[in-house]
Symmetry: C2
């Protein structure tokens, strides 16, 4: 067991839990009891019954989001079930609190049936100001998110998709500045057509990137491939316009950018050597990236980012989600739009005043990141 | 608007929320991030996947209960819907924290369909160490509680039923000591056959009270009444063995104990005058009791309790629920049995060393109440 796994077990045994409730009002006498609970509390109840929007004035709905998972795609572990996802969800709630002073509560859902999952979330949603979906497998996650966004009147975001996409775009914006490449001209290869891959492609396309090839474990996704799921079919709407076929090795020849949300070792040094000059590689598989930074740089890459904290350019979605939901709660917003995501990415990019090959993205502990993101989305 | 309603609105406007999340672990550097979240957290996830009981070692399940309502029977307000119940649920969570250092999170469920409610609660239950159901209407509450108790492996308690029953039994135990009456001999009239009434009857019967008459708004519940719902039919199994008919006025003649969980003014002074000597009256309708204490005492009652804090003998279920769930979490218990409830009631009664007519039950702010209840249940 590697060090960080061992330490995580030790610390989880020590703390046992990472999040608890704190009463903001204190019940020290009968008067406290009578306003905070019975009988006085009947009056805010009556006002909410008459006007449900008063939940935002009188309850924790105004300040609290749910972090929800069914455990079907936990980190790099896959489908270990909802119970096993709880340490991640609880940890995510801690990050919300620590990075953005956002109150978040973890909810694990004991069904992986899409319809029942949606109905369960809808049935508990009114107590929350927003919903962060987490670690839900593709392509189920697309329908779940789309339906919940359409059917609820609070913001819903699947962070594995959009949080990741925002941070990738932020890093790419600065990588283009450093390399002098133009978003309209670059050729991008995305490897890994799961939840994050689809969201990244969509957001970069909206931002103005024109030339995409997406690959999965079977190689380049093209229109003659059989049994493509709905998300891969959607990807084809704005990738691989020349209907290229072949493997990842074929796809990367001459490419400016490689974006990996796939698996350890998927990209080789030989492949990097076939890319365009000043290539940009974000190898985001965790904990072991598609290619180690040393290898990629030795093979000619100009800029390399990974999900790891022990190398430069950590592409970490903790840069995005705390600020996104801080904004949601602060301004009582109902939707998170693509335009807001692009503004958040631009703000994250601009946080780095002088981007370099070793610094295309802020670090997760840089001060004020959540506020920068929150304010960018609000403007 | 009365003072406590006005004050409650003012305080809810001031605080806006009464409960928030607190991160117990702090994320100050990359090492914290790597054990509390990615990638280290994968290891507790894997251990839980292999052995779900490890949720109690590594997550807030070990310390946290859900306070759940559908808003179908809010305080004395009736069915105002789930949203309107949120100030009560949040307040209840505050009481859990303040009285017993129990972490509780409010969940409001947006359906009043029994089957869908049950399924929703089951789908979110695995994240919690116990479930406190609250403000759910009768007779739906009986099926909901029975089913969830049978189908979940964590303790489930509808507090409106059992919390109330425990505190009533505690008060009655001391009232019998003060008046010298015997539980086997007393004649008890219960008015109000809702959730609390049924639970009170059941628990007192288990404790050894033999002679019961239960009344609802139509008078004495007897076997020739038509359209009795399931809960009233169940009540008949151990009430009204002589199959008495008539009104509440008829029922109370010669009775030793009146227990009201009904509505303001249901009991008159004239009725009290027909009761047995040294009569015991717990008039628990809120905020205005079935009879005001002054009236009851003037009509000959020996001991009068109400739900109010401005009279002696406040029958308040905040005496019971914090300690009950403190015990559940402390000892990782799976069920709350009737025997435990009786022990909790006896412990609450024994807390009052020298019961008097003005003190048959502790006050909600007496020190150590939650621990007394918790330890009694554990023994």
């Amino acid at each position: 067991m590697t060090d960080h796994f061992q330490k995580s077990i030790e610390m989880h045994k020590k703390y046992q839990w990472k999040l608890r409730m704190e009463a903001i009002v204190h019940i020290e006498n009968r008067d406290d009891l009578s306003w905070a609970y019975s009988p006085g509390v009947a009056e805010p109840c009556r006002e909410i019954a008459a006007d449900p929007s008063k939940m935002y004035d009188y309850t924790l709905k105004s300040r609290t989001i749910a972090v929800i998972s069914d455990g079907s795609a936990i980190l790099g572990l896959g489908n270990l079930g909802h119970r096993a996802s709880m340490p991640v969800m609880e940890g995510k709630c801690v990050l919300f609190k620590e990075f953005a002073w956002v109150d978040a509560f973890p909810i694990i859902i004991g069904t992986q049936d899409v319809e029942e999952f949606i109905q369960t979330v809808k049935n508990i949603a009114d107590g929350f100001g927003g919903i962060n979906l987490e670690d839900i497998s593709a392509p189920r996650c697309f329908e779940i998110e789309d339906r919940l966004k359409a059917e609820l009147d609070i913001p819903v975001m699947h962070d594995d998709q959009h949080g990741t996409a925002i941070v990738v775009l932020a890093g790419l914006i600065n990588a283009l500045k450093v390399t002098g490449k133009k978003k309209e001209d670059i050729r991008v290869v995305l490897n890994g057509a799961g939840a994050a891959g689809v969201a990244i492609c969509k957001l970069l396309h909206l931002y103005g990137v024109n030339h995409f090839i997406a690959c999965d474990t079977k190689g380049i996704i093209h229109q003659f491939r059989e049994n493509l799921d709905i998300s891969k079919q959607k990807l084809l709407e704005f990738t691989n316009k020349d209907n290229m076929t072949g493997t990842l090795s074929d796809a990367v020849v001459g490419a400016d950018v490689f974006l990996g949300v796939s698996a350890a070792g998927a990209l080789t040094g030989d492949m990097v050597r076939t890319m365009a000059p000043d290539s940009i590689i974000f190898a985001m598989a965790n904990p072991v990236p598609e290619i180690m930074p040393e290898l990629a740089l030795a093979a000619g890459a100009r800029i390399v980012g990974t999900g790891r904290s022990d190398y430069p350019n950590q592409i970490n979605n903790s840069l995005a989600f705390p600020g996104i939901f801080k904004w949601v709660l602060k301004y009582g917003k109902k939707k998170i739009t693509d335009e807001m995501k692009i503004r958040a990415a631009e703000a994250l990019a601009n946080y780095v005043v002088h981007p370099t090959v070793d610094m295309v993205i802020p670090g997760p502990f840089d001060p004020g990141i959540a506020d920068v993101v929150a304010e960018a989305m609000a403007n």
